[in-house]
């Protein structure tokens, strides 16, 4: 897969040093959480796991370029790091993976990370790939109608870009210049189907012209590039200049989900190449280079992450499954 260098507009503020370290903290925490839920899956405690490993920079870099509490987030199953960056705790998230009582997004009625959070303006209604794209456009339409300057960002994979809904939604958003950011996490695979069998081009950004909207490709393992592209898209959206496609080129480190066996279709070499683009390591090196992880800061961050994850694991281990007493509720208002 050809990786296009980041094309970022001028005039966007780079994240502050503090923010960079905060993003690193979130990345480390997310990676630790991700590894833990895979372990829980192998132990039979988590029925299904989809991993954000390799996608963390794209997810955290974009969230941090937006205004949590005001903007709207339409995510998909791979967006674990979006949840972390929005402020969900590892315990809350792990209640989802273990389907335990008190799970905040869906009461454990749904797959992990699915459901919604009203306070966070977070929506992940379903597992049906691509359906969130028109929904996000509708959210942006609502914000615009009320004259709010909230932005809606919608996350989706390269696979989702093939769905008719993606086309219809982008076209509508373009016509009405809606404040929406189409953030594609292009990892080159829809489960086993490689990009070359999903499209005859290298990525989706070349579609932007067909809708008459701007599109940008960024290295999705470079959190700075993602942050900047998203910031610029957000500014454009808030200024009434309409939607942007931000295509982030990322890697999927692991099988599609814990149910998948990627050795059936993925070359070992391809995987090894992919692992060289580890967003956590890349940011770590950038921060060390910039002197932003002085002394034992890095190991403090990592130990703290481990501690939180351990605590969360203990909590969810002890938590009960939900009672089935009210499983018929909330069908109608």
């Amino acid at each position: 897969m050809k990786k296009t260098p980041p094309v970022v507009g001028a005039g966007v503020t780079r994240p502050s040093d503090d923010k960079l370290v905060q993003m690193y903290r979130e990345m480390v925490l997310c990676r630790a959480l991700d590894e833990r839920v895979w372990m829980l899956n192998r132990q039979g405690k988590a029925a299904i796991v989809a991993s954000a490993q390799g996608h963390e920079a794209a997810q955290i870099g974009s969230v941090q370029a937006l205004q949590v509490g005001k903007d709207h987030f339409y995510i998909y199953y791979r967006d674990l790091a979006v949840l972390i960056s929005l402020g969900l705790t590892p315990t809350e998230i792990m209640l989802g993976f273990t389907a335990k009582a008190g799970e905040p997004l869906a009461g454990a009625r749904q797959f992990p990370t699915h459901g919604a959070s009203k306070t966070l303006n977070l929506v992940n209604l379903s597992n049906v790939v691509g359906t969130q794209i028109p929904q996000a456009v509708g959210s942006a339409l609502a914000s615009k109608m009320r004259g709010e300057d909230a932005v809606t960002i919608v996350y989706f994979g390269d696979g989702a870009s093939s769905v008719g809904d993606c086309h219809e939604a982008m076209n509508f958003a373009a016509i009405h210049k809606l404040p929406v950011i189409f953030l594609c996490e292009n990892n080159g695979y829809a489960i086993s189907v490689p990009l070359s069998k999903q499209m005859a081009v290298d990525g989706i950004v070349s579609r932007a012209d067909g809708y008459g909207i701007p599109g940008v490709v960024v290295d999705g393992t470079d959190i700075m590039a993602v942050y900047e592209a998203t910031s610029e898209a957000a500014t454009r959206a808030r200024d009434g200049r309409g939607p942007t496609i931000v295509e982030t080129m990322v890697e999927r480190y692991l099988p599609h989900t814990s149910d998948d066996d990627d050795s059936l279709y993925r070359e070992q070499e391809d995987l090894e190449e992919a692992r060289k683009r580890d967003p956590v390591r890349i940011l770590q090196e950038q921060l060390i280079g910039a002197g932003l992880l002085p002394g034992d800061t890095d190991s403090v961050i990592r130990n703290e992450a481990k501690r939180v994850i351990n605590e969360a694991t203990d909590y969810v281990d002890a938590a009960p499954y939900p009672e089935a007493t009210d499983f018929l509720d909330h069908v109608y208002s």
Binding site: A106, A116, P134, Q135, G138, A142, F172, I175, H330
Partner: protein
Amino acid sequence: MTVQTVIEAVRDGMQEEMRRDQSVFIMGEDIGARGGVFLATDGFVGEFGEDRVIDTPLAESSIAGIALGAAMNGMRPIAEIEFADFIWPTVNQIVGEAARARYGTLGQMCVPMVLRAPQGGGVRGGLYHSQSVEAIFAHTPGLKVVTPSTPYDAKGLLKSAIRDDDPVVFLEYKRTYRLVRGEVPDEEYTVPLGVADVKLPGDDITVITYGLMVHHCIEAARIIGNEGVSVEVIDLRTIRPLDNDVILASVEKTGKVLIVHEDTKLLGVGGEVSAIIAEHAFDYLDAPIVRLAGPEIPAMPFSPTLEAAFLIDTEKVSAAIRNLARY
């Protein structure tokens, strides 16, 4: 009271709600300057502006999906599908997503949207402008499905649907649009969802129906009434939720049931109504539960002779009632 057609009542219902509540808006094909292909939104763009009366591209799946997203973000969209025959692309967003939004978020999200579509035949619409689609949506928990038959009901039910916090599929029989006239109050009113209406009381036979067929059934009931058989006509009005109480009370009184709908028979609404009766009023039944429904062909053919062969009319209903009376 004013005498109106169904389409006028639909238009007034939407207009009143749009005046009443800024969060109500309407989106669909040709609803702007054109005023809708049936003129349901005639004059709306002038009164409410292009922001609240949105002419969309021809793309039904996204009409539904965008309305759903707007509904989850505080608006009350009315999404118009030009003909029910073109509603299939919305199934993914309506059956798959909107219906489960509340359940799947433990009540955090609600979907106050209405999906309106004209349906049914008798207008020389052929295979693709005559379809009845209620059964497919009515199978889905989480949705409400409404099929009005009169101007009074159309307006009152539509206003309730717009104010409802759940997704409502609102199916108007296009044949009734200009054909059926009726009195509509000048003052504000609504008709509650989920409540069937006894359109004609009777004692000997219960006829259960909805939509356009209500009118044929009432006519048939009057004819049969003159033959000495007293027929009760129930208009379901809402297909989901079904009003079991009204259905069962009537059956317990009459003991004989005819169910009539224009949609094809197998797995149609009539099957469900029959099953409810066979389970809950079995001991009251004096005869088989009979269904009169569209024949098992994919939809209504175009040529007038073929369309007539498909359609249920007063005569066919009368014949079915007479048969049942004889049992």
